[in-house]
């Protein structure tokens, strides 16, 4: 964090220690179909916890359930423990509201569609603070400016009075991250946070997430199918497929020594791996075309 380090910020003075979440046997049935099947997931405090998988694997469903937004009518069993002591599953809705957005927050894939196009950035950024932290408009605005400095949005005062369409995708994603952190959340779920962004912009968001994790002790759940992003950021990686966790391990081991056949397939489909394989066999792309 270049000009504004988190330590200087008033924002995170009363943060306390990092918080983890323990998911055990999380099972979800909807319309007679099993969508999640005994998912065990340790979201380690102060770490970047990777959750990898392809579309339909249940990775977003798992994170939405941890956040407290499962699909309507879903039958859910298992346990989601916040900080080792508070059971989130089966909690009354008004109580759940003191966690959602207040202790656990989420950043979505496409910032242009996760923001209301007709509300100013100030309104969207301060909504949560006014509800959860009972701040008045002036206090909330002051805090919003600090938050925007934290995520390095240039000219924060001015930015608050503008609307989503006036920002680039990268800037909007920074604002979305600021919004997620506005009520001192200790756990941030980032669901494909860079998939909709260009690589150069993606690099900036990855740096920001890493900074927030290191300097605030923020626990991050990084949900993505992009193993390059995973390899750059995650401390541990859990691989999901068809509603099950197939393999969990430290980042290096999962990327370089995967054990489950599905993980091996996933790693082998990386362009760099295809190339290495060809090189090892002394082939070029042109000569190896038929075996690929």
């Amino acid at each position: 964090m270049s000009d504004m380090s988190a330590q200087e910020s008033e924002l995170f003075k009363n943060q306390g220690k990092p918080v983890g979440i323990t998911v055990r046997g999380l099972t979800m049935d909807l319309y007679g179909r099993r969508l999640l099947d005994h998912v065990d997931l340790d979201i380690a405090p102060g770490k970047i916890n990777g959750l990898a998988g392809e579309s339909g694997s249940g990775k977003s469903l798992t994170s939405m359930t941890v956040l407290g937004l499962p699909p309507e009518g879903a039958k859910i069993t298992g346990s989601i423990l916040y900080d080792g002591k508070t059971e989130l599953l089966g909690m009354k809705e008004h109580e759940r509201n003191t966690y959602r957005g207040r202790r656990i927050s989420m950043v979505f894939q496409d910032p242009t569609s996760s923001m209301h196009p007709m509300l100013s950035i100030e309104r969207q950024l301060t909504d949560g603070m006014r509800y959860h932290l009972h701040l008045n408009r002036k206090q909330a605005r002051k805090r919003a400016i600090e938050l925007l400095k934290l995520v390095q949005v240039p000219d924060p005062e001015n930015a608050l009075d503008r609307f989503p369409h006036q920002f680039s995708g990268g800037q909007l994603q920074r604002i979305a991250i600021a919004t997620a952190l506005s009520c001192d959340s200790r756990v941030l779920i980032a669901d494909e946070p860079t998939t909709a962004l260009d690589v150069t912009v993606q690099a900036g968001i990855l740096h920001l997430l890493k900074d927030l994790n290191e300097q605030l002790g923020l626990t991050i759940v990084l949900v993505t199918h992009d193993l390059g992003v995973m390899s750059a950021l995650a401390d541990t990686i859990a691989v999901m497929r068809s509603g099950k966790i197939v393999e969990v391990g430290p980042r290096y081991d999962i990327i370089n020594h995967p054990k489950h056949p599905y993980t091996i397939d996933l790693i082998n489909s990386l362009p760099t791996r295809i190339e290495q394989r060809l090189e090892a066999e002394g082939k070029t792309m042109a000569s190896a075309e038929e075996d690929l």
Binding site: E54, S55, S168, G169, G170, D198, V199, T200, V201, Q202, A203, G204, L206, H207, K210, H225, D226, L227, G228, V229, M230, S231, A232, L233, A234, D235, R251, Y252, D253, I254, I255, N256, D265, L266, I267, S269, L270, P271, T272, R273, I274, E275, M285, E289, L292
Partner: protein
């Protein structure tokens, strides 16, 4: 673009041109000083600002750049879907004219495109067979059967009588590729054809598209923002930024020794999946 065959009956009287005599009578694609402006609400956006681009017969060219750099607009110019403000576009000595109400000239039907979103580019109410048959009908040379075409993209013959919704995204994209190949194109354009696919299918689909093009001697213009995949299949890479070509050269040269700062930054920003936890370099947004 199997859809552009509204009055194909009319063309039946026309003697089919013999396109396939030899590669050397084909001269490929030549774009010179192409300029495209979009006007929106009184404001003009310069999408493409004077681009030269050549694709030789049989060549595989990767066109890379970030969103808004003009790469898709350029693809639309080549297909005649967008009219340039200035510049010339010629394919195999035929000037590329913007598509109006008439069907495209026979020569230009040899340019086919595969779009980003396979959910939107296939007709949901028609079987795979009927969509591929329609494309086969405009081919001036004998084409393999629907089943053979499907086999060439690793789909089953029995898939021919299914509807698009019965397939996954990756399978649909392969159907779109088979449909494009059914016209025996001499230039195949992929406009981000892998961007909406799962990670494990991206490299596979790109390679499949290259193979399909190579099998029928077609050139391939592969447009993508993903340099690591483009590197796998392209022989030459063209880098675009802000409506202009910033650098072009053989793939390995661009990848290992980029000359332009912009290309260097683009390559530096790609995260390397080595499990070591290095963040890619960040040089600010441009």
């Amino acid at each position: 673009m199997g859809g552009s065959v509204i009055d194909r009956d009319k063309d039946k009287n026309v003697k089919p041109l013999d396109f396939r005599t030899a590669a050397d009578i084909r001269s490929g694609l030549h774009l010179r000083d192409i300029v495209v402006d979009y006007t929106m609400g009184g404001r003009t956006v310069h999408a493409v600002r004077g681009v030269d681009l050549d694709v030789a017969p049989g060549e595989v060219v990767g066109l890379v750049g970030e969103s808004g750099c003009g790469k898709s607009t350029l693809a639309k110019v080549i297909c005649g879907l967008v009219e340039p403000v200035a510049g010339t576009a010629v394919y195999d000595d035929t000037p590329i004219t913007p598509l109006k109400f008439r069907s495209r000239p026979m020569e230009l039907r040899r340019i086919q495109m595969v779009f980003q979103n396979p959910y939107a580019s296939l007709n949901p109410r028609r079987t795979v067979r009927s969509q591929i048959e329609e494309a086969r009908a405009i081919s001036p040379v004998p084409v393999p059967s629907v089943e053979e075409l499907l086999a060439s993209v690793e789909l089953d013959a029995s898939d021919a009588d299914k509807l698009p919704h019965q397939f996954s995204g990756g399978q649909r994209q392969r159907i779109a590729i088979a449909r494009a190949m059914a016209t025996t194109p001499t230039l195949l354009i992929g406009d981000e054809p892998i961007a909406s696919l799962d990670a494990s299918l991206q490299a596979k689909t790109a390679i499949l598209m290259k193979k399909a093009a190579a099998r029928s001697d077609a050139s391939l213009l592969f447009i993508s923002h993903d340099l690591s995949i483009v590197r796998l299949i392209a022989t030459r890479i063209v880098v675009m930024n802000k409506g202009q070509v910033v650098e072009t050269g053989p793939t390995e040269e661009i990848w290992n020794h980029p000359r332009e700062e912009y290309t260097k930054n683009l390559l530096d920003a790609i995260p390397v999946p080595d499990g070591l936890g290095h963040l890619p370099a960040y040089h600010g947004e441009n």
